[in-house]
């Protein structure tokens, strides 16, 4: 039983983090809070990938001694590469989302999505600024 938990708990915690981020995306009205939830969601996916890449007894995928490196066990470097690019993309996503939120606040005067919905329903022809 203990062994089973030790084998799987990294994946479980990644899923729990995903649930927290997903909850924030659905239930929070504040748009900045939704972006924070999106960040947590993304990070949970990264954690899942990096957990898959771990190899027992492996070391970081950097070759120190090129002569005998066939004998050394390395961690799987491929998920590291995918996540490296994904982190930089995630900051771009955050930046574009924040830009859109700033623009929304300039136009509607609110960053709560239910208030924006009310304003939009009351004034159907809201001209853009």
């Amino acid at each position: 039983m203990i062994e089973f938990i030790a084998d799987k708990y990294n994946f479980w915690i990644a899923i729990v983090l995903m649930m927290i981020g997903f909850y924030a995306i659905i239930a929070k009205h504040n748009l900045v809070k939704k972006v924070i939830g999106l960040n947590i969601f993304q990070t949970s996916v990264f954690l899942f990938y990096i957990s898959i890449s771990k190899v027992d007894g492996g070391t970081a995928p950097i070759i120190w001694h090129p002569e005998g490196h066939a004998k050394v066990v390395y961690d799987n470097p491929l998920p590291h590469v995918l996540i490296l690019t994904a982190i930089v993309v995630s900051v771009s996503v955050t930046a574009v989302a924040l830009g859109i939120i700033v623009k929304l606040y300039q136009n509607y005067g609110s960053i709560e999505d239910d208030e924006i919905k009310t304003i939009e329903l009351n004034e159907p022809e809201l001209d853009s600024k």
Binding site: A60, S92, G99
Partner: protein
């Protein structure tokens, strides 16, 4: 934060080290953790630090908007033209081994360094653009 003497002095003292660390990260990307993305982010962060401590005007005088916009596309173009020059050298797109150096290994090595430089330039310029455009007030 413009009036804080300690903050301004420490920032002036630290800035060269931050930027040299960015170049170190770029140059040592092959033999230690690091590479184009990290170097670009650190280099962009040094300009963001200038903007936070000395104000946006001062940072813009160090990195004018026109230069920033040109750098933004330069890095991506360096990357793409490295790929294209591999085609002209007789290989596939981004096949650095075909570049005209002594061996395929050396071609790979130099091609990787060039495209890491391109990635670093783009990422640094993008980080600066994002910060300067999102931060609205002149000093915060």
């Amino acid at each position: 934060m413009k009036d804080d003497v300690i903050l301004r002095t420490i920032t002036k003292f630290m800035l060269p080290f931050i930027q040299i660390f960015a170049f170190y990260t770029l140059a040592h990307g092959e033999i230690s953790p690091g590479g184009g993305f990290q170097a670009g982010v650190i280099f962009g962060a040094s300009f963001i630090l200038i903007a936070l401590v000395f104000g946006k005007k001062e940072a813009r005088s160090k990195m004018p908007r026109g230069v920033n916009d040109i750098l933004l596309s330069t890095g991506d173009l360096i990357y793409a033209f490295t790929g294209l020059s591999c085609i002209f050298a007789g290989g596939h797109f981004l096949e650095y081994g075909e570049l005209p150096f002594h061996s395929a290994k050396e071609g790979n090595h130099i091609g990787m360094i060039i495209i890491e430089l391109g990635v670093a330039i783009t990422v640094a310029a993008v980080m600066m653009t994002i910060f300067f455009d999102i931060a609205g007030k002149d000093d915060d």
